[in-house]
């Protein structure tokens, strides 16, 4: 594990401690649980974002891939428990497909990642709005099937176990498999990786596909949490996913970073907002402090090397 994961964990610990000191309910399990659940949504999108950032890419299509998956889930699940497996498969499938197209565009057609994923965001937005007629379609009002909503009930919500599973998956994939080695090799130096036999294009396609899948997973979990799908559900997660990745100590230039750091980064961001909300800081104050906190963290361990 690298040093930056330690920094990210330390920052998360400091923010959580600060919260515990400032507001009474924060240190209790219900308080912490609420933070963890909300942080899990950021954690899912940031998992995908981290995978593409590791090879020096970026995924700007997260908001509407997430939103599309959420709406696919509710319109195919129709609120019925027995339709849930089908709905889940379709929602995740939609996310994976969007990610696959992103990957193919970036790796095979050579479209810059910013352009490809920005375009995909527009395409998914148009498709989502158009097909659902602005979320006015007959099936659009359905609630998420009950088993999905039950993920958020109980002392230890099953949603947190899903996050744990996702964290294990990403960590094992990146640290214990050949594929993971190839990801870091590609991120550190794509040319060197290519010359030593890494299928750089294949790796890139796989990572964008996974990012689409993680965005869809976040959409599914958000629908389970909120009960219904809505338009603009994914909008806050574009910049938040990037912020969580860098606060988590992942280098934006690629090649360095671990998901454990990103988990800490997601916790930090959500805890900051939660603490400020508990302190009844108005929205404008929250936004400004949030930005300044990110800036301070960047100054602490997000700087690039000196030039000379």
């Amino acid at each position: 594990m690298n040093r930056r994961v330690g920094y990210a964990a330390a920052v998360a610990a400091v923010v959580l401690l600060l919260g515990a000191v400032l507001s009474p309910g924060f240190a209790s399990w219900p308080g912490l649980r609420a933070v963890l659940v909300v942080a899990s949504f950021t954690g899912f999108v940031a998992a995908g974002q981290m995978l593409v950032v590791l090879v020096g890419g970026i995924d700007l299509s997260i908001p509407w891939v997430l939103n599309a998956a959420a709406i696919v889930l509710t319109t195919t699940g129709l609120g019925m428990a027995d339709r849930l497996p089908l709905a889940l498969a379709l929602a995740i499938g939609a996310g994976l497909l969007a990610g696959l197209v992103n990957g193919l565009g970036v790796a095979w057609l050579g479209v810059p990642a910013v352009v490809m994923t920005l375009g995909m965001n527009g395409v998914m937005q148009g498709l989502t709005l158009g097909v659902s007629q602005g979320l006015t379609c007959g099936e659009c009002g359905h609630y998420a099937p009950q088993p999905l909503r039950d993920l958020f009930a109980g002392t230890v919500p099953a949603a947190l176990l899903v996050w744990l599973g996702a964290a294990l998956f990403v960590t094992v994939l990146l640290t214990l498999t050949t594929f993971g080695r190839r990801v870091y090799a590609t991120g550190a130096n794509p040319r060197a990786a290519y010359l030593s036999g890494v299928g750089v294009k294949g790796v890139t396609v796989a990572l964008y596909t996974l990012s689409g899948g993680f965005a869809a997973l976040a959409g599914i979990m958000l629908v389970g949490y909120g009960g219904q799908a809505s338009l603009g559900l994914g909008d806050p997660y574009l910049f938040e996913s990037i912020a969580a990745v860098v606060v988590g100590g992942v280098s934006i230039l690629g090649g360095r970073g671990h998901y454990l750091g990103v988990v800490a980064g997601s916790l930090t961001l959500v805890a900051v907002t939660t603490v400020l909300r508990a302190q009844q800081v108005p929205e404008h104050g929250r936004l400004m402090i949030y930005g300044l906190v990110i800036l301070a963290i960047l100054f602490a361990y997000g700087r690039e090397r000196a030039h000379d």
Binding site: I58, L60, G105, L109, G110, V111, P112, V114, V115, M116, L118, G119, M120, N121, G122, V123, M124, Q125, G126, L127, L129, G130, Q133, G134, F239, I242, A243, V246, I252, L253, E283, H284, G285, R286, L287, M288, I289, Y290, G291, L292, I294, L295, L298, F299, G302, R303, E304, R305, A306, H307
Partner: protein
């Protein structure tokens, strides 16, 4: 094959010409008459803010950076302009403030050595918060005399300002500073080695982007006659799209701000084309997304072709 290579460099103009042609065609067929002066004036006034933001964005992209905070600077400047009633004195203050916001980005990027995308992501949040602080609910106004000289609904006053922006770029790129912008973007290490003050160039470029965003904000309020603290958010992605369609390379050092201006006008026209072609507005962003990717593929395809022919 110079003609093919030109397509890559002039992508913005080619795309703009094609879009303008499509606009003319669908407008004429759907309304039975060619667009009149009123239509051109409406396009000019609605496109001016994006043109200005895209101009600033392209300067930053030319140095190999990116400015996500344009959304926050536009929001903040819209909020102040609208809240103060947009008198000339306040507009001057707003332009100064926008430049200052940009300068802060530039200093953090250049001297703090923090990646541009991360720096401006953080300041985006700060500036948006400040905008909400100034103008918690949409509203405000703009002085009528200011409106008359900026986006007069009866005269193409915007053309003059557009010409001024174009002239500004035309002069800028011929100055030492303009050369340095390209030098930093094409190869920062080489630029440093030949004595280009890379840090100062970067700081200035972000400050200019801030100034452009502030000017865009003033135009925005003049056109809509009111302000909204979230007005700037859409400009983040659309300004990047304009730069891309305009043929400015994200790796820096290649392209021109004029391409980005053409790209901004083309992006605005596409919305009208879709409208007159009778496409359900709900599908609008689908076509905008495709437009973006296809325009870029056109550019890379042309470059590839040119390389094959010359090889």
């Amino acid at each position: 094959m110079p003609a093919v290579r030109d397509l890559q460099d002039r992508l913005g103009y080619v795309v703009l010409a094609a879009t303008a042609l499509a606009y003319f065609a669908v407008y004429t067929t759907s309304l039975g008459r060619p667009p009149g002066s009123f239509d051109y004036l409406a396009i000019l006034n609605t496109t001016m803010p994006l043109v200005l933001v895209a101009l600033g964005q392209s300067l930053v992209v030319l140095t190999g950076g990116i400015d996500l905070s344009v959304g926050g600077v536009v929001s903040l400047c819209v909020a102040i302009t609208a809240a103060t009633g947009g008198t000339p004195g306040w507009i001057l203050a707003v332009l100064l403030l926008g430049t200052l916001c940009g300068l802060v980005n530039g200093l953090v990027v250049a001297y703090g050595r923090i990646a541009p995308i991360l720096t401006t992501l953080a300041t985006l949040s700060v500036y948006t918060g400040a905008a909400l602080w100034v103008l918690p609910v949409p509203g405000g106004s703009i002085a009528p005399e200011v409106r008359a000289v900026l986006s007069n609904p009866n005269a193409p006053t915007g053309l003059g300002w557009l010409a001024l922006a174009v002239a500004g770029w035309w002069v800028l790129r011929r100055t030492r500073f303009g050369m340095r912008v390209y030098a930093v973007g094409s190869d920062e290490t080489a630029a440093r080695a030949v004595g280009v003050p890379v840090e100062r160039v970067k700081a200035k470029v972000y400050a200019l982007s801030g100034l452009c965003s502030a000017a865009a904000a003033v135009f925005y309020v003049a056109t809509t006659t009111a302000g909204d603290a979230n007005a700037g958010a859409p400009f983040i992605l659309t300004s990047i799209a304009s730069v891309v369609v305009g043929g400015v390379a994200f790796t820096g050092g290649k392209g021109s701000a004029m391409g980005a201006v053409a790209g901004a006008v083309a992006l605005t026209l596409v919305i009208d084309v879709l409208f007159f072609a009778g496409i359900d507005p709900l599908y609008q962003s689908l076509f905008q997304g495709l437009f973006l990717v296809v325009a870029v593929l056109l550019g890379t395809g042309a470059a590839l072709l040119a390389r094959r022919r010359s090889a």
